[in-house]
């Protein structure tokens, strides 16, 4: 099946070329601090409108892979994570760079990004069809339970307090009410606006919340920075051959990469937390289990290999849950979800029924995207360091210009630009008040599914919740949901007690 996917892929050279372009664009965006895989996807999405579904989605996959990988470039050269998924890469990567060994650091990062990506691609293509088969047998009861679990984990594990996460999530859910009710075909919450009958479109909503809000927060900070502070300096580095590490070092690192890849994959599967948590967690794990923990933070190559393996492995994990259940875990996967919607494909278990060629083409594209990423990142290393001298003040408005194009052309209406601007302002205000945005987006995307399944199950059981408790799978998901809630409440109480104790100690001094 997978071979067939590859055959389909190579039959069309345009697809392969597009994957190469997508990877490169992703790498560049990932490398620039402030722009991430999400921004790259937002810009590239309108380009796929006129493509064939398989081609368009393969292209978006490659942008995603490149975007998650690219973060290491600025993390190592500047000590600034290019994307949130490369925070831990800074610790040792930049330490090596200050010693003039940035080439070696980047070699390790490229190599292990690839290994993490390929590992998760293999798991994705073997495990996803199995999960898809199971999910195909889900009744509305199980679906309701699994969506509840996804929404709770996203809200509870997001940064900030749990109550804020849940409120943001419910706000997203409420926003999804606008438009036509799927089951009864009556319009809701449109307040007489004809443009709102179809509800808010996902693309302008996403772009507004994440991209426009960022321009606004950068503009808000403008007067607190002087022109001199805004300049960044790049350190000159020695050039080396190959990936800059020996076979022995490579094999040694492979031992660290194993657990890191597993961590990344599992974190990726959980909705709401993605590359950034995987990156940090794998680093901490590698440091705790290493034979030389004292080298960490001073330029240990293990300390680069673990986080870089993990963040790329998390991509495959996130795709598993997106493809099999139709649940996006974070803002970048939401954007891929928007890509699916635009091409009229609903991700979910049905993709796996009837031996769909599309799924295997996507798997093949994902693997190929990782391979091409390795080649491009390897040969592009000297060029990437130059790209970092482009100023974000110039880039960010250009990103917004592309966002205008994306919002407008997804439905060919100017109204969607108003939606984008409105959500940009909302996103800015929410960030200011420390409300996480990811739960809101996931709530917005999953709410129609949740409502439909909840209402279907209650209709089926004539208003009783008993059948849901009788399904073992549904009960397992519900118990997990409760466990996540209890865990978060307990750890938040602990944290606030610690903070109170620290404050008390301070006042004693």
């Amino acid at each position: 099946m997978l071979l067939q996917g590859f055959a389909n892929l190579f039959a069309n050279p345009v697809t392969v070329a597009l994957i190469a372009i997508g990877d490169l664009a992703g790498l560049i965006f990932g490398a620039i601090p402030g722009l991430s895989a999400f921004t790259a996807l937002a810009i590239m999405l309108p380009l796929t409108f006129s493509m064939e579904p398989v081609v368009g989605i393969s292209f978006l996959m490659s942008v995603y892979v490149g975007g998650v990988s690219g973060g290491f470039i600025s993390a190592i050269l500047l000590g600034i994570p290019g994307t949130p998924s490369s925070i831990a890469t800074c610790f040792d990567g930049h330490a090596l760079a200050t010693k003039g060994q940035s080439y070696r650091a980047m070699g390790v990062a490229v190599l292990f990004s690839f290994i993490g990506g390929i590992f998760s691609a293999i798991i994705l293509s073997t495990l996803a069809p199995l999960i898809g088969q199971v999910a195909l047998r889900f009744s509305p009861y199980e679906y309701t339970a699994v969506i509840l679990l996804a929404l709770t984990t996203v809200s509870a594990l997001a940064e900030g307090s749990m109550v804020k996460g849940l409120l943001a999530c419910l706000l997203g859910v409420s926003l999804s009410f606008v438009g036509i009710d799927q089951l009864s075909a009556y319009t809701r919450y449109t307040f007489g606006f004809r443009e709102l009958r179809g509800g808010f479109a996902l693309v302008p909503l996403l772009i507004g919340l994440f991209a426009v809000s960022q321009v606004l927060s950068n503009a808000a900070k403008r007067n607190s920075v002087t022109p001199e502070q805004a300049k960044l300096s790049v350190v000159k580095q020695a050039r080396m051959k190959g990936f800059g590490i020996t076979w022995k070092e490579f094999l040694h690192c492979l031992k660290t990469a194993g657990p890191a890849a597993a961590i990344g994959l599992v974190i990726g599967i959980l909705p709401g937390i993605g590359g950034n948590i995987a990156n940090l967690l794998a680093y901490t794990f590698a440091k705790k289990t290493s034979k030389h923990p004292e080298e960490f933070g001073k330029g240990s190559i293990e300390g680069i290999c673990a986080p870089e393996t993990a963040n790329n492995a998390s991509v495959g994990g996130a795709l598993i849950i997106l493809l099999t259940l139709g649940i996006p875990g974070d803002n970048a996967t939401s954007m891929i979800m928007a890509g699916f919607q635009i091409h009229g494909i609903a991700p979910g278990p049905l993709l796996f029924s009837s031996g769909n060629v599309l799924v295997y083409a996507i798997f093949a594209a994902f693997i190929l995207a990782n391979v091409i990423m390795l080649a491009e990142a390897y040969f592009g290393l000297p060029i990437f360091s130059k790209i970092l001298s482009i100023r974000t003040e110039v880039l960010l408005p250009v990103v917004i210009a592309f966002c205008f194009v994306g919002s407008y052309s997804s439905n060919n209406r100017i109204f969607d630009i108003a939606v984008m601007v409105a959500f940009g302002i909302l996103g800015f205000v929410m960030k200011r008040h420390k409300y996480p945005l990811a739960p809101m987006v996931v709530g917005f995307i999953l709410a129609p599914m949740l409502e439909e399944n909840l209402r279907r199950s209650l209709m089926r059981s004539q208003g009783s919740l008993m059948p849901m408790v009788q399904s073992p799978i549904a009960v397992a998901f519900l118990v997990l949901t409760a466990a996540v809630l209890v865990y978060t409440v307990v750890s938040e109480v602990k944290k606030s007690k610690q903070a109170a104790a620290a404050a008390a100690n301070e006042s004693d001094d």
């Binding site: 804020k164 419910l170 089951l183 009864s184 503009a219 808000a220 110039v394 108003a418 008040h433 209402r455």
Partner: protein, 163 residues
């Protein structure tokens, strides 16, 4: 505004929003075919949201009172208008209103340059190099994008005065 004050305020906004969602659900037409109907889910969601916002208001008020008692309350800062922020919002809204009459290319050129000016720290444009880079990007990007989409993807952006 202190952190707890901000939380109080946002809790109130969410409470108001949940009441609004609940109240507006009554104007949804009911169906006979489906026993639960299109009102059911919005009402549940708004009730849960209302409860959570009460929790938020309660906990932030308690925190606020505690801070007051301990005299930790910071002095009130005079309310300052953040001009770059407001102008950026105005630019975005202006873009929405003017896109149809003015068209993509000229409007985007203006938008890009103004937005770059609003992002660069004050006085950056005294440096000739930055000014030239900004100007060139502002002009080149919209033209390239317009023709890329026109010929490459058959997506037609509003032509406006040039059309």
């Amino acid at each position: 505004m202190s952190e707890s004050r901000k939380d109080q305020l946002s809790g109130l906004v969410f409470l108001a929003f949940s009441i609004f969602v609940y109240a507006a659900s009554f104007s949804i037409k009911m169906t006979k075919a489906d026993s639960l109907g299109p009102q059911f889910f919005p009402q549940i969601v708004s009730i849960v949201m209302g409860i959570l916002s009460l929790v938020q208001i309660f906990s932030s008020t308690r925190k606020n009172l505690k801070e007051k008692r301990e005299g930790k309350q910071t002095e009130k800062k005079p309310f300052a208008v953040n001009l770059p922020l407001l102008l950026s919002i105005a630019l975005l809204l202006g873009y929405y209103y003017l896109l149809k009459p003015v068209g993509f290319i000229p409007l985007t050129i203006v938008y890009l340059f103004c937005q770059m000016y609003l992002l660069f720290p004050k006085g950056s444009f005294k440096e000739k190099k930055l000014l030239i880079i900004s100007l060139c990007t502002s002009v080149a990007v919209p033209i390239a994008v317009y023709y890329l989409f026109y010929y490459g993807f058959q997506i037609f952006l509003p032509a406006g005065i040039l059309g």
